[in-house]
Structures are given as structure tokens and as C-alpha cells.
């Protein structure tokens, strides 16, 4: 049994330690906001936080996550009022929406690092998150709007 904390709750899973966190979340625990897109850290759809850091859950072996705290989009504090999620809704970013949970988790991490990112900063940090529908102009706008919201809240 491997024990970890997911969205604040202690969970135990009986899987091999090599299993990527992504597949523990999705198939063992039924937490589906982290998406399977590529399996090789090329798309970012599986992005979650481990101990506060954005990581590709397809690359994190569950054995190494034991004892750590995992937060998925479902477990974000005050999710309904979260400035990044609010900006994403106001800008109507999603088309198919499949990559967006990963985009949002990455954007949250970006804004934790850089409060007022430039377009260059956004390019730098968000280029690992692939969107096949082409929502990039709206992702950019939503990140700027979320940054402004966060500043206003302070």
C-alpha cells in the first residue's frame, strides 16, 4: 500500500511504485481533471501540484509521491472564486476543453512565480502546454486578466 494526500484527504493505493501519478488519480481514485494526452511530458494536460509545485503527473512515479500532498484542479482552495478560473470563464477560453485543466494548473503556477507576467513570460512558461483547438489568444488574455484580479485582491 502506498499512502499519499490528495486534495487534502489521505488515500491509500495498492499499485506498483512505478505507476505514474496520473493513472493513480484517474483509474484508481476516479479523479479525472488531470488528463492523459501524451504520456511523455509533451502536452501538459496532466498537470497537478505536488507539494505546491506544478508537475506533469504522467512523469511522477507514485512511489516517489508517497507521503506527499497532491492537489488537482478539483481540490483548489475556493475553486469557485479562484481568480484564474474566473478569468478562464470570463474569457471563455475552452473549445474542446480537454487541455484546459492542465493549462489552468500551469497558469496558477506561473502567477505564483511572476505576479505580472509579460507575453514573453507566458510564452516561456506555457509553451509546454499544448492546445490542439488553438485557444492560445484567449489563454494569454485570461492570464493577464487573472494577474490583474490577483493584484486587485491584495
Amino acid at each position: 500500500m502506498i499512502e499519499l494526500t490528495v486534495n487534502g484527504a489521505k488515500r491509500q493505493v495498492d499499485v506498483v511504485p512505478e505507476m505514474p501519478l496520473l493513472w493513480v488519480l484517474r483509474d484508481e481514485l476516479g479523479i479525472t481533471s488531470p488528463k492523459y494526452g501524451c504520456g511523455v511530458a509533451q502536452c501538459g494536460a496532466c498537470t497537478v501540484q505536488i507539494d505546491g509545485m506544478a508537475v506533469r503527473s504522467c512523469q511522477a512515479h507514485i512511489g516517489e509521491v508517497a507521503g506527499k500532498s497532491v492537489v488537482t484542479l478539483e481540490g483548489l482552495e475556493k475553486r469557485d472564486q479562484h481568480p484564474v478560473l474566473q478569468a478562464w470563464i470570463e474569457h471563455q477560453v475552452p473549445q474542446c476543453g480537454y487541455c484546459q485543466t492542465g493549462q489552468i494548473m500551469q497558469a496558477i503556477s506561473l502567477l505564483d512565480l511572476i505576479a505580472q507576467p509579460t507575453d514573453e513570460d507566458i510564452n516561456e512558461v506555457m509553451s509546454g502546454n499544448l492546445c490542439r483547438c488553438g485557444t492560445y489568444p484567449r489563454i494569454r488574455a485570461a492570464i493577464h486578466a487573472a494577474a490583474a484580479k490577483k493584484m486587485a485582491e491584495k
Partner: protein, 749 residues
Amino acid sequence: MGLQELSRRAFVFGSAAVAGGIAFGSYGDVVQAATAGDNPLAAALGPNSVTFNPWIEISPEKITLIAQHADIGQGVGSVQPIMIAEEMDLDPGQFEIRFAGPSPAYFNTGFADEFAPFVAADQSPAAEEARAATLEYLRKTGLQMTGGSSTIPDTYQKLRVAGAVARETLKAAAAKRAGVAIADLRTQSGHVILPDGKKIPYVELAADSAKIPPVLDAKPRDPSQWRMLGKPMTRLDVRAKVMGDLKFGIDLRMDGMLYASVKLNPNKGQPLKSYDASKAGSMPGVKKILAINNGVAVIATNSWYAMKAVDAIKCEWAPSAYPAEQADHWKVLESSFKPEFLGKEWRKIGDIEAGLKTGTRVEAEYRAPYLAHQPLEPLNGIGLVTDKGMEIWVGHQSPQFVQSIAATAIGLKPEQVTFHNQWTGGSFGHRLEYENVRVLAEIANQMRGTPIKLVFSREEDFLQDIPRQIAIARHKGSVDKGKIVAADLQLASTTPLKGLLERSGIPSKDPDGQLAAGLWNVYYDIPNFRGTSYEAQGLSPSTTWRSVGASTAGFFTESFIDELIHAAGLDPMKARIAMCNVPTYRKVLETVAEMSDWKGPLGNGRGRGVAFVESFGTPVAEVVEVSKTERGIRIDKVWIAADVGKVVDPVNFENQVQGGVIWGLGHAINCELTYAKGAVQQTNYNHHEAMRIYQCPVIEVRGLENDPKVRGVGEPPVPPAAPALANAIFAATGQRIREMPFNKFIDFV
């Protein structure tokens, strides 16, 4: 008439079928025709409930609106119900949305224009009669399919009529109950409002409404009265997608479910010869290893266990029927410009031979490679086979073909397959194909009684992705005294639509009409013109990829027109505007010229290119601006104008158009699929990257409403993107790039 007949008569319409003066029904009439016994909702209706037509169901508990077109990210899971809700005076949150099951009641009227043998700008009586005849065939065959940018053209009229019928019938039921005149009633927010101000919720009128005949002559409202449509509104699926709450097909779970993954013959369409699963059988989580027709499957307790184990199986495959190596695919195409491979001479104007002999001759060859679709949600599905038949949960654009493909795979009748459509993480044409459906049926049939969730690994999805057509164009033309006097456009290509029809079980012998898209619908005054397609034989199967034929022919045509314009010494924008012979289309070009403030060459290593392509009836003009930097070409900005007759959902319109531009540019710059040893060499996104955010330009969008018909916009922004970029690169650097992907010839930052 069945679907068999459809392929012959309607998809690639013969001219003989057009004759005759039959009075055909209008699009709106589809609702009236479908209200009778063929409403698929009637059979499953609960007590005290009503269904007015195949799109609306009201029970004492809730209102359900049916989305007949599949949502593949283009937003139709939202705009279809909103078109009904607009007419019914329902607000978002007052109804549920359900995807339609398979039924001929949901036949796609929107294909009538695309399949009739006239270019879109031709709205003459003869052309309209042919479209009406095509509509009649579609009605009889009952083809239910999402694609061809047809959702809005198909549903704009009929869903508003459907909503109006519901509204007026609910009012009639309320009038009867309250003993007042219908004219004294109004509707608001899901209620009928009586003259005294009393409000009756629609759900309380369900039983009464079922007892009276529906008010079939109800009229939809004039757009000037719209509350939601035509105005910025929030897509109904946005919140759930942002909150991570929306369940895509891949997110579903069932009690007792097991997980499957597959390894299939990468030589597409060929069987498995033998396999060695000695290692895989003892791997963690593995429950069972199965041989299927063209590969092997592992059943396990977790998708990852299944993928790992399937990786460990060694397979011997039957070799490919197409050339094993990419170079030989190109050779076949090069030798396909011969009479025996003629698809069709689609259009001929003037005397092409004489025209080519006049003035200065221009010739150029262009190439476009195979491409993958690769929506981010990989192919998947859940299947359960029992003695009664099969249930299948999968996101797909062709419900009836899901039934027939699954049924055929395991010896059932199509009606024994129950299909539950799902929200999908993109398609771009991928979810018109059937590999996951067929394979899932085979697996579930060997695992009877257990729900099986199949997930393709990304690598397997790439390997089985039936690509976009590959094509070569050999264009000739001539210019004389500052004018284009001749354009002889010829291309050789694989056949995307024919391929899809064949795999759908309705093979067609007629020329592939999608090879005409972007080739024959050229709206410039060129006195001598010819557009001819050749169909290469024996190459990789190919299929519809966002914008289909126009994605290749649009690039060829608009690159060549640009070369002719330059040879004639003209300005690319002014010449196109001057030559354009359809007033509404000329307006599209003029609009993009105005938006971009086009004033001729920019100089200083900057350049602009323009392209104009009509596809699926929607004329689109794009201007791309690039800069030459030390590290390569940077795409700075794109201006795009499209005339769709009516912008029904403005925010989503802009999102779709921007997405189409990004799709067109990203693949033109960065992507190709190539074969080696019969398999594609690109098996994950690092080898087929399209566009990431760092390459994405600013994209300014404008929608026009001059076309008398309402058009779709999912695909039409794609075809002009690549030629506009190539033309911009020429303007900035003097280098003509005639082959995709462009990064083979020039670097991009």
C-alpha cells in the same frame, strides 16, 4: 432508399439526378415532417411527458433539449440547445442537454449545399434546384453526421422552428387549461404567463401538451427580437470545462469495469500474423490477453498496466498494401497525372490551350504531406456486450455508422447496438473514423458481461490515425499586359472522402468531390481556366482532416494565384479585389484590406501575404504579417474576415476562427507524417507539434453577414492560412515556399 444509395446519388451528385421540376420542401419543413411517428424520443417517453419533435422533451420534472450534432470542441453542444431555448423563452440552467441517439430524424440538411454540383457562390435557380434535390435525397437516406462545417447551416432554421413549435404548443395547452385565448398569453423564462400574471411552468404543462396536436405552423422570431443569439453569450459548457467537472468519454467509469489497451498492425488495414505475449501475461494488473483481427489487446485493472503490458507483446504483422517507404508515396503521386488516374475535370472556362500560349508562362509545383489529426483526448470508448447486444459509450460524429461498424465486427444487427455519444476532447476529423469502435466491439465481445474501457496510447493513436490526404499540384498559367489570362490547375491526391465512405460501408466509384474543394471554386475573372483532379491509387488510406480537400488545394491555388499576380506586376491585394467576381466575396477581401490597412510592400524584412478561399460555402480572406529575424521568420499578426451570413454565437465564432488560423498555420509550418517500413514515423507530439503558444500571433477577426445563407465556420478559416503565410514569406524574403511543412525550407521563431 438506404445509405448505400446515398453515396452514389448525393455525396457526389450526378447531373442527371438534378433534372425535373419537383417542388421540394424547405429546410424548416424538416421539423414538420419529423413530428409524426418517426420521432425517436416518442418510444422512450415517460408518463405525463411530451415531445414535440426530435429535439425537445418535457417531463413533469425537467426539460431536455437534444443536441443532434456531436460536440468536438466547436461549441455545438451549447449553440444547438440555445437556438431552441431562444424560441422557447428558456434560460440557461432551465434545461438539460442530451446528445442524440442514432435516428434518420436527425438527417443532416446542411450537406445539401456541399454535395450539389455547383460552386457555393452560384445561387442561381438551377443550383438551388440541385440543392433542393440533394436535400430530398438526404431526407430519404437519413444520414446523421457531424462534419463539413454544417451544424449551423443544418440547424439554424430547423431548431428555431422546433423551439417555436414547442412554445406555441405549450401556449395552446395553457390556453385550453385556463380558458383564455392563445393571443393573450406570453412566455418567459420557462413559463407561460396568463393575462392575470399567473405563471405556469412548462413542466406542469407537459401532460396537457401531449394531448393536443402540436402547433406546426409556428414561426421562429425575427433576429431583431433575439435575447441570446447573435450577442456575446457564455457557452453552456465553459464553466464545467474550467472547473474540471465535465466528463469526457475517457472520464467515464462503470461498476465492474476493466481497462484495455491495444497494439494494432501499423501497416494500416492489415491483419495480425502472430504474437508472443509470454512476458506480458505475468505483468502487474494484467487480467487477460486477447488476439483481435488486426492486433492484440490487454485487459487489466488500470489503463497504464494495460499499456505497459501491450508494449511488451511482440507481434508479427502482415505487410502494408501501400508503399512501405515515404519516397515511394511521392513517386506514385508524381506519376498520377495521367488520363487513367483522372478524377474529374471539375471546371473549364474559355480556351485553356490558347490562353496558356498567350503572354508569359508561369509554372509551379506544390506539395502537401500526410498529416495526423491527433486531438488531445486519445481514441477511447467503453463497450459492454451481453446476450441482448452491445452498448457503446464513445464520442463520435456518425452515430449510425458506429452502430453498423460495431455490429458488423461482432455479428450483430445495427439495431442491437446502443450508442451513447460523449463530449469529446477534439476531433478535427479523427472521430469520423472507426478504428476504436471496431476494436472495442471485438474486445468487449470476448469479455462479455464486463464493461471494458479502451484507451489508445498516444503512440498507438498516431500509428492508427488515418491521415489527411497527400497531394501534388502542377499548375500552369500565363499573364499578359498586366492581367492573368490563363490558369490551368491540376492536382494529384489521395481521396479523403472516398476513403471515409468506403470505411463507413458505403463505397463510391464517383470522383472524390473534396478534391475539387479549393480547386474549382476560384472566384477570379480569369478568362481561361481549368481545374482537374487526379486520384492516386494504392497509397495510404486518407480521410477528412479539418477543412478536407481545401486544406491542400487552397494552399496550391492561392499560392499560384499569388505567383501569377506577381508575374503580372500587380499588388496581391488590389489584384484579388479587382479580379473577384462575386460581390459579397469581394467585400470579404476589402474588409481584410481595411482591417490590415493594406498599403503594399512593408520593406525592412517585413512582409504581408493575403489569401482568399471559400470552403463549405464560407468565403474567408486572411492577411498574415511576418518579420525576418536573426533566428528565422516570426509570424506577427493575422487579420481575418469571414462571411457566414449570420454570426449566431459571436464569442465562439471568434474562438473558432482563431483556432482555425492556428490549426492552419501550425501544421503548415511544423508538421508532416511520413511512412517507413509501412508505419508512420511520428508517434507523439514532439514529432508533430503544430503550434504552441510561443509561435501564436495576434489574430484579429471580423465576421460579415452579407451572404444570403447562414454558413459554418469550423473549417473555412484553415485553408487560407498556409498560402497567406507562404505569400507573406515571399514578400519578406523573396523565397517562394511551395511545399508544406515550411520548416523544411526556412526557420521559424
